[in-house]
């Protein structure tokens, strides 16, 4: 416990320097901005900004990038409540009851509940992260290559189970990601693979190019295809912000449950903010004695998912920071960001770079505080932004993407690759292939190969090593179990129902 506080003190020392405070603020504001704007999500934004963070010290870079992810959870809810447009997929369910509350003239309490619920959840999740990380990292140090390999298998399988759409397609997307991740020089033999004599490809395909193409460009084309939906913006004066006593009484339990569920789902591989908000909403509906008010402006329908998505956004850093394994696509990008900064993600980050580790955690709490303070007064400005028509917005997004990709290597090569992945991403949209597992596989590809090789070398080529080592065997058994469960017809139907709201 004492250790925890001295660690946090160290972290706050780093996070509270003027520079880092500023980057935290920039990250949070950017996150809120893209959270408000539909059609651009945290993945594309983080990919866009990565090149700009090359020159920053690692602490500042990661603090800012993290701010984008949880900031987006705040921003998404604002527009969901006020104008029924969820800016982020994690706030889709918030729109159900939040918008109804706004129509009943209770936009203020809805916004305040979302913000305060998020802040509470963020605080709890940050402490959870701080408390759980050191012991988990201790366990991680005991992991051999076989365990790491099995853990990655579990992570990838879980990502499939929790993704929506066809399981087989999602597995295929993971494999595609793994294979694309292998393009470039093989670290063991120094041989260039799948590069076809193109010198730039010997360094591998840039993950920024993949992420930006598949999540940025393809998204723009998809939005243009759907046409200009008339975005009606009417901002009723948000009066009496503060929720009533009755509101507090109604929703405090929902906030607690949302926080708990969100924290849990954030840690799980494949989980994250989106899943957490859906699950929390469903749980509230199931638990409520009188669920008839849901969808008609029930404050619990705002409190639970908003707490959950923010909690999950924080706790998904736990597997990243302790095991070095990203649980979802956003965290996969953070791995990329760390590697660019010369940091190998994994349990050693905490011991070798405590400044970075604890600084990042402390900054998350500060960021949450900033968001709650800034968000409510700035609502008017965010809403104004929505009046900017998409036809003006998307060229601007393209400009930032272009500058970001170009500055990766200061050559047109990455720009062309990004455009190609833009096309591929659009193809995925057309064929209903969820791209998030691909990005996860892409980051994990080289790591998986490396650990597989080491494990097999240690066992002298005996694949039984994966099932004779108890920890590895357990991880694989859980993966298998997950796969079997998801294939069962009854569960399959349930799962399809659960994702139907998306």
């Amino acid at each position: 416990m004492e250790q925890l506080f001295s660690n946090l003190a160290l972290g706050f020392g780093v996070a509270l320097t003027l520079n880092n405070l500023m980057y935290c603020l920039v990250g949070c504001l950017l996150g809120t901005l893209i959270g408000v704007l539909p059609g651009i999500g945290p993945i594309a934004t983080i990919a866009m900004l990565l090149p700009a963070t090359f020159t920053l010290p690692p602490e500042s870079a990661l603090i800012m990038l993290a701010g984008i992810y949880y900031g987006a959870q705040y921003g998404g809810s604002t527009t969901a409540i006020l104008i029924n447009i969820p800016g982020e997929s994690s706030s889709v369910v918030t729109a159900l009851d939040g918008y109804q509350m706004a129509r009943q003239g209770r936009a203020g309490p809805a916004l305040a509940t979302a913000a305060l619920g998020s802040f509470f959840a963020g605080t709890v999740a940050t402490f959870l992260l701080a408390a759980a990380a050191p012991p988990l990292a201790q366990i991680a140090f005991k992991f051999g290559p076989a365990e790491y390999f099995s853990l990655m298998v579990l992570g990838l399988i879980a990502a499939v189970v929790l993704a929506h759409g066809s399981v087989l397609k999602a597995v295929a997307m993971i494999l595609l990601g793994l294979l694309l991740g292998l393009v470039g020089t093989d670290v063991n033999s120094g041989m260039a693979r799948f590069s076809f004599g193109i010198p730039e490809l010997t360094d591998g395909i840039g993950f920024v190019a993949v992420a930006m193409g598949v999540f940025g460009l393809a998204e723009i084309i998809k939005n243009l295809e759907q046409g200009d939906e008339k975005r009606e913006v009417f901002l009723n004066k948000v009066t009496n912000l503060w929720p009533s006593k009755q509101d507090f009484k109604d929703c405090w339990a929902s906030v607690l449950r949302g926080t708990g569920l969100g924290s849990l789902l954030g840690i799980l591989p494949g989980g994250g903010a989106v899943l957490a908000s859906f699950a929390a909403y469903t749980l509230e509906k199931k638990l409520a004695k009188d669920s008839s008010r849901f969808g008609k402006g029930d404050i619990r329908g705002v409190a639970a998912p908003e707490s959950a998505n923010n909690a999950a956004a924080q706790t998904s850093f736990i597997p990243l920071l302790t095991l070095g394994i990203p649980p979802n696509a956003v965290m996969a990008l953070m791995v990329g960001a760390m590697i660019i900064q010369g940091i190998q993600p994994g349990p050693q980050v905490m011991t070798e770079r405590p400044q970075l580790f604890w600084g990042m955690i402390a900054s998350m709490w500060i960021g949450n505080l900033l968001l709650v303070i800034l968000n409510l007064p700035l609502i008017g400005m965010w809403i104004k932004l929505l009046t900017v028509p998409y036809r003006m917005l998307y060229p601007a997004i393209l400009v930032f993407c272009g500058i970001g990709v170009y500055s990766l290597s200061n050559s047109p090569f990455d720009v062309v690759i990004t455009a190609m992945f833009g096309f591929v991403g659009y193809l995925f949209v057309k064929l209903d292939c969820e791209p998030a597992p691909l990005l996860l596989g892409f980051i994990l590809g080289p790591m998986m190969e490396e650990n597989l090789r080491r494990a097999m070398l240690l066992s002298r080529g005996d694949p039984m090593t994966f099932v004779t080592r108890p920890l590895s065997a357990t991880l694989l058994a859980v993966s298998l179990l997950l796969l079997i469960i998801i294939m069962l017809p009854a569960i399959r139907k349930k799962r399809e129902e659960a994702f139907v709201e998306e």
Partner: protein
């Protein structure tokens, strides 16, 4: 007639790409090595084959189930957006940031439903100015601002 074209073509895509990876390993003779000392070709060969096989299974499933057809490609936004993006990359060094941003905005705005060139021109200039301020002066990214022959 295909009953489930969406899944069918997805399966084809996976099968083709998966086996292509495996075939490339063989054609280019990436060393396979042994199980204990895996060569550069081992892991991609195995993964490619699994992916190809999975593609075949998806194709098989698609033939037995009914599903949705693949909606039409929106070639217009696809071509203008990606085209503008590539042009930007190609001319950035030669033409400098200001001109390439203006070109990117003007060309890409043809991908939208309604195109107002005056509006596009204004926003392109605004974007060029902000980008130079933020990225070149602020973040010190090594971009030339103006064309080479002028600077």
């Amino acid at each position: 007639m295909l009953k489930n074209p969406k899944d069918f073509w997805a399966g084809v895509m996976f099968a083709v790409i998966g086996f292509a990876f495996a075939i490339i390993v063989k054609v280019y003779e990436y060393p396979m090595g042994t199980a204990s000392r895996m060569g550069a070709g081992y892991f991609p060969f195995v993964l490619g084959n699994i992916m190809g096989m999975l593609g075949l299974i998806i194709i098989g499933q698609a033939l037995l189930t009914s599903g949705v057809r693949v909606s039409k490609f929106a070639w217009r936004p696809l071509a203008w957006v990606l085209g503008a993006f590539v042009i930007f990359g190609l001319i950035a060094k030669l033409a400098g940031l200001v001109i390439s941003i203006i070109v990117l905005v003007l060309v890409s705005s043809y991908g939208g439903h309604e195109h107002r060139w005056k509006e596009a021109l204004i926003s392109s200039v605004v974007l060029a100015i902000t980008s130079v301020a933020v990225f070149v002066y602020g973040l010190k990214l090594p971009f030339p601002i103006w064309p080479e022959f002028l600077g």
